[in-house]
């Protein structure tokens, strides 16, 4: 067992995902507390160039093989699993993303280590490893003490500042032979979205609609508010999953990250996956019937009321104010 803290580096098309730096920053704190080193692990192919960006780590382990050029849950999990089994770090931090989800749970199960998912805070109190998860759609925070000498924690985006993980050090580069095996999961191609009619990432004002709208027939109510504000219409995941609005209107983890000047959340409860995509907005207004909705934790102005009462009144007022 080692005292080191490992971070699984997420990258796509040669670019490191921001969440990696968020994890690295916290990994440094944990490594200091544990008395070990911060180690970044890059799995892939021909990625030595990425090491220069990982200066916050003491060591960058490059786990490379031509067969790992493209991410697959199976290939990357196998390579990481072999490395982690041998090294047994105190803590392994994995991004809670589409790529990280399979890796975190898969590794924990394969290695027989505890896993705490959806972490928004992680700390070491002496030998005690404490991890706080956002569960029940962000309505509850669960603080847990993690047993064992090694553990995997999957961490939500936005939990720690990325700046702390962008250090300009000169980490030791350590190439290792990647474990390989039969590929039951094979990468076929990357699909990039066609530009929609509107680019919600460029809109200064967004009015975003969630499950509270109840029916597709009610969406024009929200559209009218967006039009009155001179903004664009966006949505949370359930609206897109229902097929009521196109994917390129979706704000959040599996959708787009937006930073408009004004973000009006209508009937959106504010699950962590949604907050991740919009918490950077300059001014957030939330309208929701549930006063305990997590959206109010990030909103600047909140309205606990029936959107079907408030929206028409608001649209009317805005039109009159022009």
């Amino acid at each position: 067992m080692s005292r080191d803290v490992y971070v699984v580096v997420e990258h796509l098309e040669g670019k490191i995902a921001d969440i990696t730096f968020e994890l690295l920053g916290r990994a440094r704190d944990l490594a200091r507390a544990a008395g070990g080193a911060t180690v970044a692990v890059v799995v892939g192919h021909e990625l030595a160039g990425l090491a220069g960006e990982l200066g916050a780590a003491d060591t960058v382990v490059l786990c490379q093989d031509a067969g790992l050029a493209r991410y697959t849950p199976e290939g990357h999990q196998r390579a990481l699993g072999a490395l982690l089994r041998e090294r047994a770090p105190r803590v392994t931090l994995v991004p809670n993303t589409a790529m990280g989800m399979d890796l975190a749970a898969g590794l924990a199960a394969a290695l027989g280590w505890p896993l705490v998912a959806y972490c928004c805070d992680v700390r070491l109190d002496g030998d005690r490893l404490l991890a706080t998860s956002q569960i029940y759609g962000g309505k509850i925070l669960a603080e847990a003490e993690v047993s064992g000498s090694s553990a995997v924690l999957s961490v939500l985006a936005g939990s720690f500042p990325a700046e702390a993980g962008r250090g300009a050090g000169r980490p030791a580069i350590e190439p290792v032979a990647a474990a390989t095996g039969p590929a039951r999961v094979r990468f076929k191609r990357l699909i990039t979205p066609e530009a929609g009619d509107v680019d919600i990432t460029r809109a200064a004002t967004l009015v975003s609609v969630g499950r509270g709208i109840q029916s597709k027939d009610n969406i024009p109510l929200v559209e009218e508010l967006a039009a009155a504000l001179g903004g664009a219409l966006a949505a949370s995941r359930p609206i897109v999953d229902q097929g009521w609005l196109p994917k390129m209107r979706q704000v959040g983890k599996s959708g787009l990250t937006v930073k408009p000047r004004l973000y009006v959340a209508v009937g959106i409860s504010g699950a962590p996956e949604h907050l991740e995509g919009m918490r950077g907005a300059e001014c957030i207004v939330a309208i929701n019937t549930d006063s305990n909705a997590p959206i109010f934790t990030v909103a600047h102005y909140g309205v606990t009321a029936d959107l079907f009462d408030v929206l028409p009144a608001l649209t009317e007022r805005i039109k009159a104010a022009r």
């Binding site: 399979d102 029940y136 669960a142 990357l190 990039t192 097929g243 959708g255 909140g302 009321a305």
Partner: protein, 256 residues
């Protein structure tokens, strides 16, 4: 393709959640449960596959309470079989325990593909689908949509990354997939049809093994995030709220 759908009950997040007196669990006395929404998407995707390509759909759930009606609803929607796994599992077994109990049953069934919801509101110790795949020694892919057969022994899926970017992956069967969204909105089963199904269909029962694994972590305390700590709450009649909000937006030069 013969498909197994793994489903679970979760607290209905529309309702108020209360924390139990010991601070370590939800107060389950008045908790309203519902089928995990992502599992409904997994079921719909399976039913779509069955409609297009034949095969069967079998639903498996651990009996953590109130699961009968949910399973009959799955049957009313078109699933062929429903298996309830009973045992001393309590109201909220962890994902590891759930996956181990389900693996014990799934191992005895004949199947090509296991679908489940990508995640659930309470899977603090990991997503059941992935843990189940590891227990069964199968490949797994999460956050998928658009499952399509690719020849006889594989499927193609799309795995959704951020920003609308997706990877198309080919996965050998059998495998476990965590479904993000079905290709169409999950179908609705009218109450009358569910009632009818309860009269005509039956749930198969299996017993969960004992000695299921624990989560590897112990909840010290639950708390609610501080809501409204930051938000200025506007109150009053809709017209008053609208007036104040417009004044605020105008002052911040957010009305263009």
């Amino acid at each position: 393709v013969n498909i197994i759908i793994v489903v679970k009950m979760v607290p209905d997040l529309v309702e108020e959640l209360e924390i139990a007196a010991d601070g370590r669990d939800l107060d389950r006395a008045f908790l309203k449960l519902r089928l995990n929404e992502f599992d409904e998407h997994a079921l719909e995707e399976a039913l779509q596959l069955m409609d297009r390509h034949g095969g069967t759909v079998t639903v498996v759930a651990l009996d953590t309470g109130e699961v009968d009606e949910a399973l009959f609803t799955c049957l009313a929607k078109g699933a062929n079989r429903a298996i309830k796994v009973t045992g001393d599992v309590g109201p909220a077994p962890g994902s590891r325990a759930t996956a181990a109990a389900l693996a014990d049953v799934v191992r005895t069934l004949s199947y090509d593909l296991v679908l489940t919801g990508v995640q659930a509101a309470d899977d603090r110790d990991g997503q059941v689908g992935i843990l189940l795949a590891e227990a069964l020694g199968l490949p797994h892919v999460s956050v998928v949509s658009g499952v399509e057969p690719a020849g006889d022994r594989a499927v193609t899926v799309r795995q959704e990354y951020a920003g609308g970017v997706m990877a198309e992956l080919e996965v050998d069967l059998p495998c476990v997939l965590g479904v993000q969204a079905a290709r169409v909105a999950p179908r609705y089963a009218p109450v009358s049809k569910v009632r009818q199904t309860m009269k005509t269909a039956r749930l198969e029962e299996r017993t969960a093994p004992t000695g299921l694994p624990d989560a590897g972590s112990t909840v010290v305390r639950l708390r609610k995030p501080e809501t409204g700590g930051r938000a200025v709450m506007l109150e009053g009649a809709p017209e008053e709220i609208a007036e104040r909000l417009v004044a605020i937006l105008a002052e911040k030069r957010l009305l263009r």
